[in-house]
């Protein structure tokens, strides 16, 4: 599926960014997210995936370049209005917060005066945490913690979800369920998703993959083309073997590397 035919939600044009004064991290990065598009963000550790998501969500301001949300500059939106359009799930979660799971999840409703259709209970149900609603984050398992914040993000009900490694710590079931859920939301509400992840076999499920290396785009397009043995070797500095099964989807094996 090409994204050219769909309207663009968010466009990044020639975005540059750096944490330090001496070396630049993100350099002239451009890509855009169409309506209903699911984009997998792949790249080695430290290649800049999280930074890109923070730039796209407006948390970090680019040194130069320009970001447009529905055609208007991202930073011209009121915070609250933007929060109804974009929600962002950070990679690292702080577990020392004093709130209960229910309180945490319900924060997803903060941008709204009149809560949208989904209720806190629906969101808790969705991630299987109804029976933990009174617990504190510190008393949950790693996967349960991640799911708490996923529920909050989903409850926020934005059209564009920027998810930084949401699958980390999730078990098989919830990995599958999250992707399934996002697909359902796309069908119902035409949401778009940008997801940073490391599991190439799951990245193969996305229509579009952005492969990042050293803050620059190494490849962008359908995973069948982008996740080639060569590009992967280039991006991750590791040898993999692509196995095609039944002609449909590819699987990646790194068996011989261990």
């Amino acid at each position: 599926m090409s994204s050219a035919s769909k309207p663009m939600i968010l466009e990044l044009n020639d975005v540059c960014f750096s944490y330090s004064k001496v070396e630049s991290l993100i350099y002239n990065l451009s890509f855009s997210i169409g309506e209903g598009e699911f984009i997998g963000l792949l790249g080695a550790n430290g290649s800049g995936k999280s930074t890109i998501l923070k730039l796209a969500s407006g948390i970090l301001k680019p040194l130069s370049g320009d970001l447009r949300l529905w055609g208007k500059p991202l930073h011209s939106y009121m915070n609250r209005d933007r929060a109804k359009l974009i929600s962002y799930l950070p990679q690292t979660l702080d577990i020392t917060v004093p709130f209960t799971i229910k309180e945490l999840v319900s924060m997803g409703l903060y941008p709204y005066d009149i809560p949208p259709a989904m209720s806190v209970y629906d969101a808790l149900e969705m991630v299987g945490l109804r029976d933990k609603e009174g617990a504190h984050l510190a008393d949950l398992s790693g996967g349960e913690r991640r799911r708490t914040f996923i529920a909050m993000t989903l409850l926020q009900g934005a059209g564009l979800l920027l998810l930084d490694e949401p699958l980390a710590n999730l078990d098989l079931k919830y990995q599958v369920e999250l992707i399934r859920l996002l697909r359902k939301l796309r069908k119902d509400r035409n949401i778009s998703v940008v997801m940073a992840l490391h599991d190439i076999n799951i990245a193969l499920q996305f229509e579009k993959v952005v492969l990042i290396k050293d803050g620059k785009i190494l490849g962008i397009g359908p995973p069948e083309y982008i996740l080639s043995e060569e590009l992967i070797r280039n991006a991750f500095d590791v040898d993999v073997r692509i196995i095609r099964q039944q002609g449909e989807k590819a699987y990646i094996s790194y068996e011989n590397n261990f």
């Binding site: 969500s57 917060v97 709130f99 903060y110």
Partner: protein, 320 residues
């Protein structure tokens, strides 16, 4: 939760009512002679109102600051605001300044507090935002500096002046009068209302700046708004009646034991709890050893701490 809040509100109103009739002499509000009327309307009533206002300001400020600084030890005085106020008030007292009449000391205290708050804010500011850790350390540093200077001035001035200035700092509600209340009330009400209105943003700030942004708040703006409103509340409270410890630090923790950490409930509960506690502490401090009065801050600590320690023993600690 709703019910717990209702109980807290009812208890607060009750305490306020009781504090009007009880004292060195008990006043029957339906049968008052001239002196009783004078005592009730011009001595006790303004005093109880000041106690409630100060307690509210301190309780709410404490809850807000523990949140934005993400530190369970934060209290309204940690930002050095009170040291600034005390220094400035002490300078007015020691300098014998009286050009604003009975308003001189409160006005000086307020000004000192606001200036200090401004300096702490400036020091906590870096790269276009207030940083919790910087604010904390800047507040503590300035606090030490100003109380050092205060003590220096006091120790090189006459002994008599020392005692007077010290007593002011200990907190005193006895001079409360109606004329000062409108100003105090304006600041405290505004501060409390702003804080409660920004409770969601405060919750988000506790989660971290990334979530705050994502949930539709500007971390920098929210932190600054809350900081300013806390600063004004604290300044108003210090200028109403000096420094009263305990409330700003421990009332939010006590309330957390009861209604949890959600700022939407915690802020109003801390304000009410602070108001009620200071009102009852003042009631005790003026009634227990008549005709002497004890500083209200002492009673606040003496009745509050054992209760807090009891709760601490019984309940689980919630962080922040």
């Amino acid at each position: 939760m709703k019910i717990k809040m209702l109980i807290i509100i009812l208890i607060s109103i009750l305490i306020f009512g009781i504090s009007l009739v009880i004292g060195p002499r008990i006043i029957n509000p339906f049968d008052m002679d001239d002196i009783s009327r004078e005592i009730l309307f011009f001595i006790r009533a303004p005093r109880a109102v000041v106690a409630v206002l100060m307690g509210m300001a301190l309780g709410a400020s404490g809850a807000v600051l523990q949140g934005i600084l993400r530190n369970p030890l934060a209290d309204p005085y940690i930002l050095g605001i009170s040291s600034g106020a005390s220094l400035s008030a002490a300078l007015a007292i020691l300098g014998g300044l009286t050009f604003l009449g009975t308003f001189t000391v409160p006005v000086f205290a307020f000004t000192g507090a606001v200036i200090t708050g401004g300096i702490v804010g400036m020091m906590g500011w870096k790269k276009g935002g207030l940083w919790p850790e910087r604010l904390l350390l800047a507040g503590v540093g300035l606090s030490f500096l100003f109380s050092g200077l205060l003590m220096l001035i006091m120790s090189i001035s006459t002994d008599e002046g020392l005692r007077k200035a010290m007593l002011w700092i200990f907190g005193d509600l006895s001079m409360s009068e109606w004329s000062r209340i409108p100003y105090g009330m304006a600041f405290v009400t505004a501060g409390t209302v702003i804080s409660v209105a920004r409770a969601k943003a405060l919750n988000a700030l506790i989660l971290g700046d990334e979530f705050t942004h994502s949930l539709g708040f500007s971390p920098r703006k929210e932190r600054s708004v809350l900081f300013v409103s806390v600063g004004l509340m604290t300044a108003a409270s210090v200028s109403l009646g000096g420094m009263i410890g305990f409330i700003g630090l421990l009332v939010p923790h006590i309330m957390r034991f009861f209604i949890g950490s959600d700022s939407k409930l915690l802020l109003p509960a801390s304000a009410l709890g602070g108001g009620a506690l200071l009102c009852i502490a003042d009631l005790i401090s003026r009634s227990i050893l008549p005709p002497m009065e004890l500083p209200a801050g002492i009673i606040t600590a003496i009745i509050g701490s054992p209760y807090f320690l009891y709760l601490l023993r019984r309940k689980n600690v919630l962080s922040i």
